[in-house]
């Protein structure tokens, strides 16, 4: 057990040793497996479910406690290297242990309570199974050593807690559950993005200080990582403005679920935020002072966010009429304290940083104690009366005095009255703020400190309102007391208040042994740790602050109560949900869906119109095709005709050719024949020619001979001719002489003739004169007369006595011929002789 005496300084100074143990795995897996067993058992006997679940809760708590001896000596680790392909790392240090402790403690008490309480609800089996599953995942979140494993359990937590929220299965519960689930899933995804980003930047998902590595990686903004993680865990932790799911879920689910949500599950978110601060904002050694600027500015922002959450949550709580909603906003407000503490711690880096951190850790522990108590009390009230509205309740202090006492003690705790645990943690956080003011100065920090006081005062106010509404005043006329409260419902309250008082009365013991020991996961200044270890909680100064708060609370509450201002609630639109989230979500969602649908539709339409156009185009092509077809038809027709004609022509041509062929063949035959004949003729001719040549030769020879002979003959002839010539010469001479004598004789003849002609002429003239005289005298001569006249006329020209051809007788002719012949022969021979 953690009460074991051990020096804090020793634990924090020595390097933590590594202990390999499967125990954390068992702690996580046991409730998960048990939930299945409970489901199986419940299907047989329903009554056992609650009992079994309570038993499992107790065993789990003991298992968690059994980690303490190990964790006191070092860090427990267990690594499944090949599970989920990335490895699953369990690692428990003291910080993990504190959270595991408070988670399992809260769960154990609530399960014990629920085993009696769930008899009034309709779905006890659903509750017990899933609360055990949720317990396992919640423990998983705080016991894992790397972000992937953490994320695994974180998502499991989201889903299994969803089933817890919708336990009543009515419309309201389902709506609230769905809202919670969506926020959880969205937060998970943002967280996942942060993990991706971190991993890609530094290559590890281990929960270890990574500030230097981040600073050394260029292009990586630690602010992005921090924001992602803060949103992711902040949704679980209910940081304003991410708290929206809480009031809805709390109002719709049974008290036992709310007690778990507020007491334990919120702490998973806080744990995450703590780890992130360690991851991103804490250097591995204090020497790296230059890196603090980011821590300081982030811390400043976170601190203000915490203060805002605190005050706004308190104001909202003040306005609620439903006790569960009031407690929900109270939880939000209380988480504001924790966040403020963390922010102040980061802001004070290098100074009194441990103050803020340990205040935050202690306050989350304290919150688990008193807020669980509140929810259990509210559960008892609901169990007894079946009512949750403040207006309808009243006067219960008489009927339930024990519950009234518990309630008053819890209020004192949460309001921070000295002697109770709330005082301790609030004092630490307040002191951190004072320290910041002291350290940095400035009006803003002064206001911050006052804000803190106002928040605390408001906290007191709304619990006064709660108290007045439920326990004081007249009870309603109608009798609503229905059931007797079983004693089992009181036991967890006893335990819780025991812790409340123990921490409140012995603060230094707890702070040293428990809270400060856990700070060794951070690299804190030793001075600041020692400062807290020796902190005097009951000094006048912090007590005075508590009293201030009380007075302020009364100053706020009394006038408000007098004028009944609590009943007024803010207008519906004036909430973060209706102002920011709902419109943004709706617009984004609508945009995405509309965009998607319209895009999808337009793509579809595009295809269809494409198809239509294509069809139209096809139709065009079709008509074109038809035209083309027609054209082809006509042209083919024409072509056919043409073909026919050409065929005919062809036939004719063919015929002609054939005929020509025949003729040609005939011709060829003939030619061949002719050729043969020619050949033969040539042959014959050649033979004949040869023969002729022969003959010619012979002839030639004969001719030769002839010529020779002729020559000879000619020679002889020439000789003869010569002789003839001489003969002739002599002949000529004789002839000449003869001719001369002839010529003389002829001359004589001629003159004789002349005289004959003259006498003939004179007789003719005479005759003619006689003829003319006859013509004139006779007139018409008859034929005879004429013939006679004619013969008479001729008679003068043909004088047979005259030389006339007709007078030449035959003898003379023959003589002439003979003469010519002789001349011819003479001439011939002369020529022939001369030619030779």
């Amino acid at each position: 057990m953690f009460f074991a005496a051990h020096e804090v300084s020793e634990v924090s100074k020595e390097l933590p040793s590594l202990i390999i143990s499967w125990r954390p795995v068992a702690v996580v897996l046991f409730p998960m497996v048990a939930s299945l067993l409970v489901l199986l058992a419940a299907s047989k006997i329903k009554r056992f479910a609650g009992f079994m679940a309570a038993l499992v809760g107790i065993v789990t708590f003991l298992l968690v406690l059994s980690l303490y001896p190990l964790v006191r000596h070092g860090i427990i680790e267990f690594h499944y290297s090949n599970l989920m392909s990335m490895g699953l790392l369990f690692r428990v240090d003291l910080l993990s242990f504190i959270f595991a402790f408070l988670v399992s403690l809260c769960w154990m008490l609530v399960l014990i309570y629920a085993s009696a309480y769930m008899s009034i609800e309709e779905q006890p089996v659903l509750y017990f199974c899933f609360s055990l599953l949720t317990l396992g995942s919640c423990l998983g979140v705080v016991l894992t050593g790397d972000l992937v494993s953490l994320f695994l359990f974180f998502e499991l937590l989201t889903f299994s807690s969803y089933v817890l929220v919708i336990n009543r299965l009515n419309r309201e519960a389902l709506a609230a559950g769905l809202f919670t689930l969506y926020m959880g899933v969205a937060g998970g995804l943002v967280l996942l993005f942060g993990i991706f980003y971190l991993y890609s930047a530094v290559g590890t998902v281990e929960l270890a200080p990574l500030m230097e590595k981040l600073a050394a990686t260029p292009g990586i903004s630690p602010a992005v990582i921090f924001t992602c993680f803060f949103i992711g865990f902040g949704i679980k932790a209910g940081v304003i403005p991410l708290h929206l799911w809480m009031p809805k879920a709390y109002a719709a689910s049974p008290a036992v679920v709310n007690a778990l949500s507020s007491g334990a599950m919120i702490k998973a978110g806080i744990y995450g935020v703590l780890r992130i601060l360690m991851l991103v904002l804490t250097p591995s050694s204090l020497e790296m002072k230059e890196l603090f600027s980011f821590s300081i500015s982030t811390g400043y922002l976170v601190m203000w966010l915490g203060l805002l959450t605190m005050v706004a949550g308190a104001v909202m709580a003040l306005m609620q009429g439903n006790i569960f909603k009031l407690l929900a906003y109270s939880s939000i407000s209380q988480m504001g304290y924790v966040i403020t503490g963390l922010g102040a711690g980061a802001y004070l880096f290098g100074a009194e940083e441990a103050m803020g951190f340990s205040g935050a850790v202690l306050h989350s522990f304290n919150h688990t104690l008193f807020k669980t108590a509140f929810f259990l009390i509210a559960g008892i009230i609901f169990y007894r009366t079946g009512e949750v509205e403040l207006k309808k309740l009243g006067g219960l202090w008489k009927k339930m005095p024990l519950v009234t006492v518990f309630f008053i003690l819890s209020v004192l705790a949460i309001a921070g009255i000295p002697g109770f645990n709330g005082y301790i943690s609030k004092t630490l956080i307040h002191d951190a703020l004072l320290e910041a003011q002291h350290h940095f100065g400035g009006l803003d920090l002064y206001i911050a400190e006052k804000f803190f006081l106002i928040g605390s005062a408001l906290t007191f106010c709304y619990y006064l309102k709660f108290f007045q509404g439920v326990f004081l005043g007249p009870g309603p006329e109608k009798e609503y007391f229905k059931r007797k409260v079983p004693w089992l419902l009181y036991i967890p309250l006893f335990v819780l208040l025991l812790f409340v008082l123990a921490i409140g009365l012995y603060p230094n013991f707890f702070v040293e042994k428990f809270v400060l020991a856990s700070t060794n996961v951070f690299t804190f200044d030793h001075h600041s740790i020692e400062h807290i270890a020796g902190f005097h909680f009951f000094d006048p100064h912090p007590v005075e602050a508590a009293l201030q708060v009380l007075i302020l609370a009364l100053a706020i509450y009394l006038p408000l109560n007098k004028w009944k201002l609590f009943e007024r609630s803010a207008p519906r639109w004036m909430s973060v949900e209706n102002l920011v989230f709902a419109p943004v979500a709706r617009v984004t969602f609508k945009f995405l869906c509309r965009f998607g649908v319209s895009m999808d539709g337009s793509v579809n339409n595009f295809y269809f119109s494409l198809g239509d156009n294509f069809l139209r185009f096809c139709r065009y092509v079709g008509s074109f095709d038809r035209g083309l077809d027609k054209f082809y038809m006509t042209s083919s027709h024409t072509a056919l005709q043409f073909l026919e004609k050409s065929r005919q022509f062809d036939d004719a041509l063919n015929e002609a050719y054939e005929r020509t062929g025949f003729t040609a063949r005939d011709l060829a035959d003939r030619t061949t024949r002719f050729d043969g004949a020619l050949n033969r003729a040539y042959e014959i001719t050649s033979e004949a020619a040869r023969r002729m040549a022969d003959r010619t030769m012979q002839l030639d020879e004969a001719l030769d001979r002839t010529y020779e002979r002729t020559g000879e003959a000619a020679m002889r002839m020439a000789d003869r001719a010569m002789q003839l010539d001489q003969v002739l010469d002599k002949t000529y001479e004789r002839t000449g002489e003869a001719a001369k004598r002839i010529a003389d004789r002829t001359g004589q003849l001629d003159s004789a003739l002349d005289r004959g002609y003259e006498k003939a002429g004179a007789s003719t003239k005479h005759l003619l004169q006689k003829g003319a005289a006859l013509d004139e005298g006779a007139g018409k001569p008859d034929r005879e007369e004429y013939a006679v006249s004619g013969s008479k006329a001729k008679r003068p020209s043909y004088n047979p006595l005259e030389w006339n051809i007709r007078n030449i007788n035959f003898d003379s002719l023959l003589l002439a011929l003979m003469l010519g012949l002789v001349i011819f022969i003479l001439f011939y021979f002369t020529r022939g002789l001369t030619g030779l």
């Binding site: 499944y80 392909s85 559950g177 890609s200 895009m599 999808d600």
Partner: protein, 496 residues
């Protein structure tokens, strides 16, 4: 490490179902029981013969050989490397389970004699795609599968189914033609289309870009990539549920497989990076993811919602390719595994519900989880895996993909993935919630009065549902190991 091994298991795995589909068709006319038995036996034998390649493949060897050549450099070739094996193994595994599921599902439907032979034939052709040694062979099987699966789409023969089938057919043909064009371009540019040559195109010319684009159209059409996805939400819901499971779970992956081959074998990482084509892929992926997820929210037909979800999920796979680094590729291949298992679970579970109740509208399914706990349990596991809840397999793939995106220096892709996860949550969670926690306020008459489907339908659904958990959580995650090996193999080729 590349050795030519004459291992005839790939041919057996492809040809056996094709051959058996004939026998199943013949026996179907005689005996329904024999037909069903043979179908299951064929699927089992095929799965076993694919699984038998594991020792060869895991030792880093590649089965490569040529059956015969049609033209020089163009023939029917076989090639099984680790990526082929991954796809073939998951396909035949899911097919085997779906064949068991089909028996009871089809007993109430008409046309079982048509369904089973086609179902088995499609198995053969799908495996053919994965085991093809070159793009030519791949194309043949791709077309075969696409056209044959048309019969599965229009099985119901309703007006709606025929319309959807017609759309599917037209789109498929367009895709096939684009693919053919791309292959011809590649052949022209590189002289071969073999997968065994390493990078085929090393210069990002205009022609190469055209090839890339047409490859993207051809394979993207099948993968349901925006803006070619329009057939998918029509075709997948109208098919009988076991066929939808295969269409969505397996056959979409053939497109993804083809794109992977294009990126790593036709081109290579440096070419695509140099030409900035990864940007095209990235933009398409982002639109596909957001569109699929957003439109799914507006659908109230259960199967139609699942179909749109498939579009979104295929966007993840395309995104994984767009990132072009090894880590993203691991996530990519693993998401192929994951989505195959998740989506078949979802479709089979939806099929069981529709089969039992006849209800398709999500608003009518109040309280179904109490009546059919196993079916809805598996559905829940798969749906949560879809959202990316650890430790389910969907988370693992989303995780690896996101790390890949961050490695690539693109955190906005992670934001897209996470937004899509949220949208997945918005459309899956109400189904689950209504199934388990709804219906309390309804009066007795409105409540669904059915009980769980027959064991032959539950068992495959349950195995797949548990698969979602096992492949996320299990140590020695075989799918993840294979994805790691496949990614390093693909990158090992590119960067010597």
């Amino acid at each position: 490490m590349e050795t030519v091994i004459y291992n005839f298991l790939p041919i057996w795995a492809v040809m056996f179902p094709v051959f058996m589909s004939v026998i199943i068709f013949i026996t179907g006319n005689r005996s329904e029981k024999l037909r069903n038995g043979l179908s299951v036996a064929t699927a089992v034998v095929t799965f076993l013969s694919v699984a038998a390649m594991y020792p060869v493949i895991i030792s880093g060897e590649i089965i490569v050989f040529t059956l015969f050549d049609i033209l020089p450099g163009l023939g029917i070739t076989v090639r099984v490397d680790i990526l082929s094996f991954c796809l073939a193994a998951i396909s035949s595994f899911v097919w085997m389970l779906v064949s068991v599921y089909s028996i009871d599902y089809m007993s109430h439907e008409h046309g079982g004699n048509r369904y089973f032979p086609i179902f088995i034939f499609t198995l053969g052709s799908t495996l053919g795609i994965f085991m093809a040694g070159d793009f030519f062979t791949l194309f043949i099987f791709f077309e075969l599968m696409s056209l044959i699966s048309y019969v599965l789409v229009i099985h119901e023969e309703t007006r709606e189914a025929l319309r959807a089938g017609y759309k599917y057919l037209i789109m498929t043909i367009i895709g096939g033609l684009a693919l053919f064009f791309a292959i011809i371009l590649t052949f022209e540019l590189a002289g071969t289309v073999s997968l065994n040559e390493g990078t085929l195109i090393t210069v990002p010319s205009t022609l190469a870009f055209l090839a890339f684009l047409t490859f993207l159209i051809g394979f993207g059409m099948k993968a349901g990539m925006f803006p070619l996805h329009v057939w998918l939400p029509d075709a997948h819901p109208v098919a009988p549920s076991p066929a939808s499971a295969l269409l969505s779970g397996i056959m979409l992956k053939t497109g993804a497989y083809g794109l992977l081959r294009v990126i790593f074998h036709v081109f290579n990482v440096s070419v695509i990076k140099e030409a900035r084509w990864d940007l095209i892929l990235g933009v398409i992926a982002v639109i596909t993811i957001l569109l699929g997820s957003a439109v799914a929210i507006t659908q109230f037909d259960l199967k139609r919602r699942l179909a749109y979800s498939s579009i979104g999920q295929m966007g993840y796979i395309i995104l994984g390719m767009a990132l072009l680094n090894e880590k993203a590729l691991v996530g990519d291949v693993f998401h192929i595994f994951s989505h195959a298992i998740m989506k078949s679970t979802l479709f089979l579970a939806a099929g069981a519900i529709i089969w039992k109740t006849g209800l398709r509208n999500i608003n009518d399914l109040h309280g179904i989880g109490k009546k059919m706990p196993v079916t809805m349990g598996a559905f829940t596991l798969a749906a949560l895996a879809m959202i990316g809840i650890p430790p389910l397999n969907g988370f693992l793939s989303k995780w690896t993909l996101s790390l890949g995106a961050l490695d690539a220096g693109a955190p906005y892709y992670v934001v897209v993935l996470l937004v899509s996860s949220l949208l997945n949550g918005l459309y899956y969670l109400p189904i689950i919630i209504a199934a388990f926690f709804g219906g309390e306020e309804h009066d007795e008459e409105a409540k669904i009065k059915v009980n769980e489907a027959s064991y032959r339908m539950i068992i495959p659904v349950a195995i797949l549902g548990i698969g979602c958990l096992a492949f996320g959580l299990m140590p020695n995650n075989i799918a993840f190991e294979l994805s790691l090996k496949a990614a390093s193999f693909l990158f090992g080729r590119v960067i010597p």
